[in-house]
Amino acid sequence: MKRSLTVCPYCGVGCTFYLVSNDGRLVGVEPSTTSPVNRGGLCVKGWNAYAFVHHPDRLTTPLVRRDGVLHPASWDEALNLVVERLQAVQATHGKDAVMFASSAKATNEENYLLMKLARAVFGTNNIDHCARLCHSSTVTGLAETFGSGAMTNSISCFDQTDVILIIGSNTTEQHPLIGSRILNAVQSGTHLIVADNRRIRLARHAALHLRHKNGSDVALLNGMMHVIIAEGLADQEFIADRTENYAALAASVADWTPERTAAATGLAAAEVVAAARLYAGAERAMIVYSMGITQHSHGVDNVRCIASLAMLTGNVGRPGTGVNPLRGQNNVQGGCDMGALPDLFSGYQKVADPLVRGKFAHTWGVSSLPSEPGLPLTRAMDAASEGCLHGMFIMGENPMLSDPDQGHARTVLENLELLVVQDIFLTETAAIADIVLPAACFAEKEGTFTNTERRVQRLHKAVEPPGQARADWEIICALAERAGYGGMRYTSPEEIMAEAASLTPIYGGIAYGRLDRHGLQWPCPDKTHPGTPIMHQDRFTRGLGYFTPVAHRLSAELPDAEYPFVLTTGRTYFHWHTGSMTRRTHLLDREEPRSFIELNPDDAARLGIRHRDMVLVSSRRGEITTEARVTGMVIAGVLFMPFHFAEGAANALTNNALDPESSIPEFKVCAVRLEKMP
């Protein structure tokens, strides 16, 4: 019997638990009772996080496609082939004809290495990861307004606040151990404002539940700011001392009267006023948001408005306040921190900056590094169909299910000259790859994850990987070696982190020896720094906070006579993303065994659809069949669907309309038609 302290592989909350193993096999999970994050509790996914690890479907050997079929191959053969073929694609089409997709499921060290492999070994900035699909709007929007695109406060702040505005986050389902803190806070008297037209669990506990129209967040937030300014509720001292460009903001919201806001959002004017007064009237108020804000063609604008609302009321830089984007994946914060982004090295250092490039090139022992920002992941499919991209190396992602407009994604991936997938299961994407590399899962390796409150925490290996599977970092190092690069010889992830920390000022003080117990929150610039639970306390990272006025823009695709419903997509509590792990976990798959679509009872009655009937859902991009769930969770005219399921895949319908600045797809709004299956 052995116990290994590690970090949950699901959401960004970063709960820690012990994996219990017996004779090399996992037999259960025990939460850490001292973790400041989860305080002895876990959600249902965490309690079951051991259960997929030894599943017989795990990849145990490299696979190489011959005559159209994937065959087992030796590591030697597979690794050589990956390098040869990547180099061949580059030789024919240029360095930037290949793209590396890193993974928010992999460790910081592995993200750092894949970024290094792309830039130092293959000479391209075409590296990105699924943060593009979840919080790229946050990274862009908060970098502009605050200077840093991360959650400003800590999870413990939920215990110390008076009002929480939750907008576009189904917190109890998607960040359950933060959602439960919010539930506790309500029991102790904190007031909730839930702005989300789904009747999520937190809405049952809310002082105000605003069911505004999908895509009308800018209007709602501008309207609230109008009321706050008009009623003299703004924090003039904070505005004067800590911010700039206030006058422009005030002018831009001047005509967002409650009446105009009501018309744009579908709310009553009184609701807008009440929300503004409740939020602005609190001594300490937090804003929590997630993909309901970011996944829009105006996602960055949404984030700017949130930042402005917080600054307008002085709710930044103190306990129990702040702008708190909840990061989706267990290590999506770390993936961004480690520079798995096309325009940034680790620590958000710009590739365009020659001094930064020089620093990285020197440490990495290369003469130069590419200076032009690379392709964002969401533009990769288009780039490939336009003939600019010919090879992809995908580590631990499943774009066949997670990308918008699945039909397009499939065509592009199938037509690539080279597709390499490194994963733990034969995902839908791995199944069409030319070469598949078997990876170790979270329980089988060392490393660190960074949670949503910027806490860097360690994983400890509990069991051996199955068969010949290897940790991602080991595979990346082996690839570098075969590509003739001698600068990736590490004996452990600890050495990798030491190198990353030396190049990354916000991680400067991160070292394995300091992470025992409960990790450290960045910014942590040096080895004596205690970490930073609350950012922007005395000054914003950029100096003064910047108010950006924002105009309301409509979603890219609106319902019309042909496609009369708004479809919004998301996840369920029991599954994780494309389900490669949770659908192989008995209890979780039993809870939600199949694809479904939520439909308001009024719409259902009008269309003659009953609960559990099979329905055909179609958009301009595709059609699927799924099961109707008739529920008051959604308002009339809006449908909700989770994207976990390969059979009945929501992303066959979604629209790859991108935010012009963050390149995030508009997963939250597209137009569809719904019919009862004959």
């Binding site: 019997m1 052995k2 116990r3 302290l5 820690t16 012990y18 219990v20 017996n22 996992l26 037999v27 259960g28 999970v29 025990e30 939460p31 850490s32 009772t33 001292t34 973790s35 989860n38 305080r39 002895g40 509790g41 876990l42 959600c43 249902v44 965490g46 309690w47 051991y50 259960a51 030894h54 599943h55 017989p56 109890t172 389902e173 359950p176 151990l177 959602g179 439960s180 803190r181 539930l183 506790n184 029991q187 669990r201 049952r204 506990h205 025992d516 117990r517 409960h518 509590y573 008995h586 209890l587 039993r590 809870e591 559990r612």
Partner: protein, 326 residues
């Protein structure tokens, strides 16, 4: 009466190693205390009840029922040495007694007894509670009890196995504490005990309306931790894993807080709402089990209350129930 000084503990436990597979409370690196192997971390006999089901050694979160390779069925092999598990507080011992009876009743669960049979149980009591507080002695329900009298462990055997376990310990003059056992136990009126009996009575008298369960259910995120931490929760699910070489059937802890727990293939679900499921969780311990087994099956170990992220463990719910409906 036998006695162990703290500095003799390691030697005593080491002396059992050839015959017994020892498990005892250990202090893990982050400060979590669990029952584990003595070699994994320093032992930690003082403090609150350990985290996790103390009964997990016999009924682990996941266990193999059998494997089939080329048509031949194989059950997990028996352990080479019996377990000796130290660390059960008296309330944990009551839980163990309850599930021993449950697994033995009617069809005897051989998967449980494969490990349980022959295992020895060590109780912990005395002034070894949180901050030196007194844990009243169990006075039975185990093979051997270790009672901390603030300077050393009084060791009392209650079974032949217990006598064998401590045979080599030197005999000491019986200190007074041993005679104080019944008195010590009686001196501690336990508020939670009164509370849970009161809540049970309210439930059995049908005094708790459905609205109450809807209220509590609204605060449940279905993490299932209450069931997974509860030493008297015994529900399990079953899964098959099939590979080219073999098929494995295993069982894992299940939870009545999940919609799928009783949902039938056709969609019918006798526990189809959060309110129904929340009611079942409490009602089962406080009303159904007393009906079936003659006793409340919550022994107030407090684990579901510690593990619940939203503060609706059984003691909290009982408190709210009594406050609202008594």
């Amino acid at each position: 009466m036998k006695m162990l000084h703290p500095d003799q503990l390691d030697r005593f436990f080491a002396s059992l190693a050839p015959t017994w597979e020892l498990r005892l409370p250990i202090l893990l690196p982050d400060g979590t205390r669990v029952i584990g192997c003595p070699n994994d971390a320093p032992h930690s006999l003082h403090g609150a009840p350990v985290a996790g089901k103390p009964t997990a050694a016999f009924f682990p979160q996941q266990s193999t029922l059998f494997t089939v390779t080329d048509g031949a069925i194989e059950e997990p092999p028996p352990a080479d040495r019996p377990l000796f598990i130290v660390g059960f507080h008296p309330r944990d011992l009551a839980c163990l007694r309850f599930i021993d009876r449950f697994f033995a009743d009617g069809c005897r669960d051989d998967c449980y007894f494969r490990v349980r049979h022959g295992a020895a149980i060590g109780g912990l009591s005395g002034y070894c509670g949180p901050a030196g507080s007194l844990i009243p002695p169990a006075g039975g329900d185990c093979d051997v009890e270790f009672f901390w009298d603030r300077s050393s462990w009084l060791v009392i055997a209650y079974s032949a196995t217990g006598n064998t376990l401590i045979a080599d310990l030197p005999e000491t003059a019986a200190p007074e504490a041993a005679e104080l056992f019944p008195q010590l136990a009686a001196e501690l009126p336990d508020e939670n005990e009164l509370l849970i009996r009161h809540a049970s009575a309210l439930l059995r008298a049908n005094r708790v309306p459905d609205l109450f369960w809807a209220d509590i259910g609204d605060r449940c995120i279905a993490c299932t931790g209450c069931n997974l931490a509860c030493p008297t929760c015994t529900c399990f699910g079953v899964q098959d894993w099939r590979s080219a070489q073999k098929t494995e059937r295993s069982r894992m802890w299940d939870s009545c807080q999940l919609d799928g727990f009783m949902r039938e293939a056709g969609g019918h679900n006798p526990l189809g709402s959060e309110a129904e499921r929340t009611r079942r969780r409490i009602h089962h311990k406080l009303a159904a089990d007393p009906e079936k087994w003659g006793e409340i099956s919550c022994f107030l170990c407090g684990r579901c209350d510690s593990v619940c992220p939203t503060g609706i463990g059984i003691i909290s719910v009982a408190r709210e129930m009594v406050a609202r409906f008594a």
